[in-house]
């Protein structure tokens, strides 16, 4: 393989790895008319997180709280 061929191969590899910003999917907030599939579930994201890990002031153990009781956190209707 010549130097030139190697260079071309390298460029091709880089292209396949690097995603253009425009290619990335976007999360859009839909209004009620746009939502064609409406479920009946309520859901809530929970986490374990602390000052040292994410910089928040109070430690959060909402995963643990959720395991114990659903009274310990609020559900958001989705």
């Amino acid at each position: 393989m010549t130097e030139e061929q190697k260079q071309i191969q390298k460029e091709e590899e880089n292209e396949s790895i690097g995603l253009e910003k425009d290619d990335l999917p976007l999360f859009n907030v839909l209004n009620n008319q746009q939502m064609t599939h409406v479920g009946t579930c309520t859901c809530q994201i929970v986490r374990s997180s602390s000052n040292w890990s994410t910089g928040i002031s109070d430690t959060e153990n909402s995963i643990y709280q959720a395991y114990i009781s659903k009274q310990n956190y609020k559900f958001d209707k989705v």
Binding site: G39, T40, C41, T42, C43, Q44, I45, V46, R47, S48, S49, S50, N51, W52, S53, T54, T59, E60, N61, I63, Y64, A66, Y67, I68, S69, K70, Q71, Y73, F75
Partner: protein, 171 residues
């Protein structure tokens, strides 16, 4: 969710290291104690209630389980045994003290698979790595957190999960 459960809890997790309500341990999370209290409540009310827990047969740490040295593997197994069934303050023993046969309400399962290698039968542990709980077929929590202090306390590992509750089905 354990407190609001009505008849059935299914848990799959890589670990089950939890405090069943004992003072002689460094384990802080009390998921096992919540399960114990829920079982006692069901027993006194006379309602049918069952908890199924699926965990790996052995925690996935290197080392020989028969080696007397204080390895991480043996420590993990010890904490798990203290949580489940091994000494007098474990979950099973505390239920027994309450006059309850633990097997009537909670069962722990682990899995093995088998196959053929070089014309010889072989078997191996199925290493359960799921982390979820389903309650009454209506609510579930799934995420990255194991049932142990590292995942549950909040000020140690960062974890994320989602709780989903099914609404009422329309007839």
């Amino acid at each position: 969710m354990i407190r609001e459960s009505e008849h059935f809890i299914y848990i799959e997790n890589q670990f089950f290291i939890s405090n069943p309500g004992r003072e002689d341990t460094i384990v802080k999370n009390r998921i096992a104690m919540e399960i114990k209290n829920r079982i006692i409540k069901a027993h006194h009310k006379g309602t049918r209630f069952m908890v199924i827990v699926v965990i790996p047969l052995l925690p996935g740490f290197s080392g020989d389980i028969t080696n007397q040295a204080k390895t991480v593997l043996r420590a993990q197994v010890r904490y798990q045994q203290q949580s489940i069934a091994k000494d007098k303050f474990s979950l099973f023993s505390q239920l027994k003290t309450e006059g309850i046969l633990a097997e009537d309400y909670i069962r722990f399962y682990a899995l093995r698979n088998h196959g053929v290698l070089n014309d010889k039968p072989v078997q191996e542990i199925i290493y359960v790595h799921s982390k979820f709980m389903i309650v009454d077929d209506r609510r579930f929590i799934i995420g990255s957190s194991n049932i142990n202090d590292r995942s549950m306390l909040g000020d140690r590992d960062s974890e994320i999960g989602i709780v989903v509750e099914e609404g009422m089905f329309k007839a």
